[in-house]
Subunit: 422 residues, 4 copies
């Protein structure tokens, strides 16, 4: 039985469940896909599950709307932007609701406002203040499938608001929490979370389950999906997530609370990240306040500094290295250059051709040798480590970009991730 | 001065006016056109006019939404259809409002609901019950340009409703009436109303002005734009219309109350209509109730019968001919065939290759020779008349389709429409 | 190493390979996906592989072009249709080639004609006569990646031709054969071939490898991807196929020649098919020629009859049942009804609510008990079998539609498909 | 008769003509418009005309393709760009040809290559070397309507080439010349050439006829349509142009050789142009070579300098003012600033808020008072003239942007353009 499978995988979903299912843009990109979604929901209903849908705008529609806005105007009043963008989800919920009708499932569409999402007035990036989900709860009780527009609400000033890109996940998690749903399923175009990038390592394996903490470290380390914001939110609200595919419909990866009895593997995943560049400020006097001065200035300019390493001082002179996203490298260099005289630095150099390789695993906490294994393995394969940083359950090394694929491959091998199944 | 021009043309628009301007789909089809609309409104504002905009969905978007609905489902719940379709205008009003901001014009977008359009619950074809235009009036008073979504409202049950295709004209006329606007301008892709079809007669001339009665007879005779529904509505509400182009921006055609002092031309336009077919029920006994029996049955089947002619009886036997749209010909023939035995008719025949040629003009009422001139002219040029019908200000003749272009040309010539200017 | 993985999975791809990679519509649906394809190809090039790309039209573009054709005309001249449709792939190859340039990969786009695909003159469904791939071979030898438009060629009369929907797979297999490529990779939106439908059975497992014969039986049994035509063609040309995902990029399913030493599992997959309906012609005299008469007539009407069962005669009277696609049911019934008197049948009845459940596996040939297990298992779970048919490596049973999911689940369990790995 | 009308208007088109009709993007933007084009061509054929069509890509498709290119890559190889862009016209010609088939008109589509357009190898902006129009001529002789893809050809190296934006007009004029057509009709979304901008002056009037020289001066003065390149080309090839609307289908404006007997009006049009800005280099020593030095440097940077005025020297010091497009103002200012020391100038200032107002008319050559009238009229209405330049048949004045509308209005009045008909 499907439900038994869920139980065994996640240990959380009862035989007859209330599921919030969120379908992202690619999952409802065209009529054919929308009909597939409706068929899937009809099947869930036949199994006895109650279902609440949260739907994003179709395919690339949000991008398209933003592009149109950019072409009509270089001024983008927030109120009008939200009126514009939220049209995309309205269209999607109406179409999904019609497709459900054709599949024999009673349903009704709800805008964010109708679904009870009350937000602040921060247009284009509103925050949810409260979810008054009575209409949704009533619809479920009446045996209907509510189809809720993702990422939208109504502000305290009665204007339409948008929760920002990726906000549909937030809508889904918030509804799941509010309705005390058994799980929140995020349907997307990937089939789950993998032990590493399958493009780099052929034996990369889809994980059946991962803890919130591990998932958060993976996204922090550069894993692109699911969005960190929704994982954090689900973690806080204690809503089990199921990241799965609306193309293959196979079981995906459950993201849940850590189960102390069940966890055995030390390392769960190797995460490569090629999106950052390294900046080195060289020949800096080793005086208090130098770093503070520099990084305050970078923070004021909204530069996302990730790793920071300061070498031991030699003769009162030291080097400070840090990484920033490629897109922010130019600005970061300008700021360092401008600060150079003030902080007495000798040089400012940049290396855009680096890769950050991270290993993540909750088991690391009780296994002291993980870092040593990582360093040894890279050394054995001639991969030079340029920077290191660690958290309780993650170790990240910066290496040359040209070594990235090899580093990922040998780490995936040494921790035997292809064969460690849960 | 532009305003003087308006005065001389229409006799109704004061120096500084309140104008409701409706922009149809082709007028806002893409960002370039939307920016042109914004520039035009900015110019009107600089001249001192107050402007309220009513905007349709961009280009073919409504068709596209209907197509998507058809592809996801063969069931189309009215509530969901209206949720879907009205997304198109929301998108358009937000974009137009942003373009106005870029052009330096303060504005705000309003959905049908926000603009105060209260409708019945007849989804996909709702009727306006009331227009509570306070927010619009306040915005105008505050010096802003309200941008209102055309063809939509909110029902007495608080659901989103759609007024049907072409409903934006109705929204504009209703707002113009409610706000006591000086005129309602319908911007479209044609430059006005012509004395005949310019594809048929090269010397066809755009009219500066036409009366509501004449305009209504022209649309009844087959003239495609503006839609009869909005003309009737404007006539009833006594709102002067200005049908004009959002491509050339030249002055178009004013549709206004008839001015008894000003009207001189007997005939204003020659209107060809190739959309109908002729049905003849032959050898019918000349008994009371036969026609009633037949046409009641056709009416029950929603057949739009236009012209009806019954020949004089010979020996108690007569023929009845009538015209119907091509699209309804097959159904009409089935009904006549089914009735044939009952009404004792000998034959049922159809001729799809006919054309209806109408001449329209309010001056006809006081000029008895118009019909004679029409018949003589057609006869002189060898055009055979198959059917005739008249109203107070219109004469229509059915001729063979192959004669249509020639008939239109010679009638346009004989009434000297190319040179009769107002 | 990736290449070792390929070797172990398929036993056919050498360390440095020549790969023909075909990307379907969803794989190049938008700029983001096209850039991902380019990144993937760049990575393959860095590994030392030679790559030839075959690209379909973006996303739903072919559907869109067909729709436009339908909206402008009810006449569709073949020459013009092919001029129209092939514009879609031209657009895609140019964009993919530009994306490759941006990813640092030298490439050049080729239309079907430029790539040497010579076809017959059968517009909209042309057959390949010859592939003169010199330009493609030269490009590969020169270190470039040719990007070839799928599904198109030039006819013997020098007109542009289209190979039909799904023809890009054929283009790819033909090129792979002509270039003696090591493998033909079909990138799509599914991650491979599964042991059964993951929507029905949660423990459905992606297969690493399957033989051509099994794959063909699976597609015949209703498995939607890959298209039977391309599998047959690859089988005939002995080109190993790799069906894999352009979304997750994980290793997919290899379709290859059967390896006599390696094959152990008796059953590989359980395939449900809900697309057919059952027709029963009852009370037929048990005379020679009756069935021939009926099925010849159905064949003449292009009805795709799948299964046929004739019951044992009782008193010289028998029943004939057969299945047809739902879309052809009405026509099939009309034909049977029309034939009823002639063949002396008592009744014609239809049941659209059936499901065909097939088990497929090459091991069946040497394992006599497979059918018995299937029937017993269904009986134990109370699933009634209405029709049975078999091939050398497939057994199909018709059951009630409402029993389909349960039947698939219990068969997947009894043959232990979730755990039988290759 | 339509043909008589043409004769009287243009004096060039015989009773039964060979017409090259070019339909721009908006004229074939969707299926409905394409069917309208087909109906129009069918009507022309019934009148006995031979017709050759030249068709642009549908609506905004070329923009869309360029956008896609920009989103997949920042490298745009010319060969691939032309492969991409030309897909748009291929699609359009196939659809138009199908629509003609549905309208009962025999036709065949031709790519640029098939139509015989041989070009140089200058991708994205190729020049026509030769037109080998045999296939087109044969099709016309056989009674078919060839539908030719605009703006494309095949290079001397057998690659697909694109003639650049607006190149369809060039294709049409070149074909008209090559086929010795009686006229080349450019169908667009405006109804002709107006005496001034109808948005500014309500009484602006569409001209029936204008000479090539006047049309060229108008486009040089800022009139947006038709493109100068095609007018020049038609002028050189002596092909009469007819600029007209594919929306209203009314007769437009003929652009032809000047007829010495017919021309009476001194001034034909008032053309406003708000697209330029003024730069003033002040306090320049009045030495030979200073201006040459400056304007050579601007020319080398591809700055389009339009008007140049140098004031009389006072004490050996002078000012030089010139106008450039707004989009090039920043670069122009940088260059002037960089040159300032070298040429010894005191100041560099810019004024972006200017308008150039031009009056154009061939009659000016024999009417000495035109300029005086222009200056007096502007002075009377308090409009200050900042710069003046003249050609044989044009006078341009730069005024403040805020005075532009008033200047245009009073000049249109003083030359009585609303009532001067030809």
């Amino acid at each position: 039985m499907w439900v038994e499978g869920c139980l065994s995988a996640a240990g959380t979903v009862p035989a007859v469940a209330l599921l919030v299912q969120k379908f992202g843009g690619t999952s409802v990109a065209d009529p054919e896909r929308i009909r597939e979604v409706a068929d899937h929901v009809a099947r869930c209903r036949r199994r006895g599950d109650d279902v609440v849908l949260v739907v994003s705008a179709m395919g690339k529609e949000t991008d398209e709307l933003l592009r149109l806005a950019g072409e009509v105007s270089d001024i983008r009043p927030g109120r009008e932007m939200d009126m514009l963008i939220t049209a995309g989800e309205r269209k999607a919920i109406a179409l999904v609701s019609m497709a459900l009708a054709a599949a024999g499932v009673e349903s009704e569409s709800y805008t964010g406002s109708q679904a009870g999402f009350l937000t602040d007035t921060n247009h284009t990036n509103a925050k949810i203040l409260e979810v008054r989900a009575e209409r949704i709860r009533d619809a479920v009780d009446a045996g209907r499938v509510p189809v809720v527009a993702g990422s939208q609400g109504v502000s305290t000033e009665r204007d339409v608001t948008f929760l920002g890109r990726g906000g549909s996940d937030t809508t889904a998690v918030a509804l799941a929490h509010e309705l005390r749903a058994d799980a929140c399923e995020l349907y997307t175009d990937v089939s789950g979370v993998f032990t590493t990038d399958p493009r780099v390592v052929e034996s990369a394996r889809k994980m059946h389950r991962i803890s919130f903490d591990e998932m958060l470290e993976m996204t922090a380390a550069g894993c692109p999906k699911p969005a960190m914001r929704s994982v954090e939110y689900a973690h806080r609200q204690r809503v089990p997530l199921h990241v799965r595919s609306a193309f293959t419909w196979e079981v995906g990866t459950w993201v849940t609370e850590e189960d102390p009895d069940m966890e055995h593997a030390v390392i769960r995943a190797v995460v490569p990240d090629l999106s950052e560049a390294k900046v080195t400020v060289g020949g800096v006097p080793d005086r208090p306040g130098i770093a503070a001065n520099l990084f305050r200035r970078l923070a004021d300019a909204d530069i996302n500094v990730d790793m920071i390493v300061q070498n031991a001082s030699e003769g009162g002179i030291t080097d400070i290295s840090f990484t920033v996203p490629h897109s922010e490298l130019d600005t970061a260099l300008e700021i360092c250059e401008a600060k150079r005289a003030e902080i007495g630095a000798a040089t400012v150099t940049a290396d855009p051709r680096i890769a950050k390789i991270s290993v993540v695993g909750a088991g690391m906490k009780s296994n002291p040798g993980v870092a040593a294994t990582m360093f040894e393995t890279l050394a054995e394969h001639g991969v030079n480590i340029e920077m290191i940083s660690t958290s309780a359950i993650r170790i990240s090394c910066v290496v040359a970009e040209s070594e990235a694929d090899r580093a990922v491959q040998v780490l995936h091998d040494v921790y035997d991730l292809a064969n460690t199944d849960f």
